[in-house]
Amino acid sequence: MSRFTEEMKIIPRPARIIAVVAALLVPFAALCFVVVVRLNPTHGSLAWVPFAALAGLAVMLMVSIYALLVGYIVGDARRRGMSPVLWALLAIFIPNAIGIILYFILRDPLLQHCSKCGAAAQASFTFCAVCGDALSKTCPGCHGAVQPGWSHCARCGASLPTA
């Protein structure tokens, strides 16, 4: 669960505020629903007071969670070099929260940082664009990135030193 709390820290402040406010409004919304129902007795299943309260509760909780998720998407998109505005809009406006699911499936890997100069770089890059340092181990033959555990370069076939 510590991974969860780590991830939660990404959510920007405005989103957290909306979420908290929505959560606090839960009893208020429940009350509103009950009042509305009392005033308009022709509404169907909501005529039953506990159900109306539950409906108010559910709606506000959804709003709160939605705010947290959209906020998370904004924060996360920024640290992955994606457009936060675009993805936030997609998350909000694609119905049934499909936009949120889509974001999680399609998101880029985390940005890597150059160990020498600290500049951000996409995960697929092999060298730092600012200082030229290699971002990870490279193949002596084709200079492509090699993953740990390889004994040969997957691109050019050169055999790699084992250390």
Binding site: A55, I65, L90, I100, G149, T162
Partner: protein, 156 residues
């Protein structure tokens, strides 16, 4: 098969120490009296000794270290995959709950009827049909336009 024959067949196993105590005694007893079998037994014993002393391969110096590194990597990858699966399941559930809640809300606020193009949009059928069609089209369009770099596809 005579005793001599059957003992002869057991000689290699005797040299290998692979006989039970009874059989071993049998073989030794016979070998004491039979010159032929004794010679054979000695020959087999030399083979056995030779097999015990075969040249050994050298273990690479960093084998254990590399194995530990690989174990670490595989566990990390497995943990990431588990996390991704958990997140997507949670979001899936959320998506269903949110869509049903939203529908119920609109339905109640509109008093149970919302005429659009001749059908009641807030009855279950038309509502979910429209909303999932819109969702699928926009999701597919987004995936096609943007989705060629996904992280989840790689780690899982």
């Amino acid at each position: 098969m005579s005793t001599h024959e059957s003992i002869r067949n057991m000689l290699p196993l005797a040299a290998a120490g692979a006989l039970g105590p009874q059989e071993q005694l049998q073989v030794e007893a016979h070998a004491r009296n039979c010159e032929n079998c004794r010679t054979e037994l000695d020959a087999w014993s030399i083979y056995a000794a030779g097999l015990r002393g075969l040249p050994q391969p050298t273990v690479p110096a960093d084998l254990v270290a590399r194995t530990q590194a690989r174990i670490l990597r595989e566990r990390e990858t497995a943990a990431i995959v588990r996390w991704n699966v958990l997140t997507l399941c949670g979001l899936g559930i959320f998506s269903w709950v949110a869509s049903v809640t939203f529908w119920a809300l609109v339905r109640e606020l509109s008093g149970g009827r919302l005429e659009v193009l001749g059908t009641n949009l807030v009855s279950a059928g038309p509502w979910f049909l429209v909303s999932f069609t819109v969702a699928s089209i926009t999701a597919a369009a987004t995936a096609l336009l943007i989705g060629n770099r996904g992280e989840i596809g790689r780690t899982s």
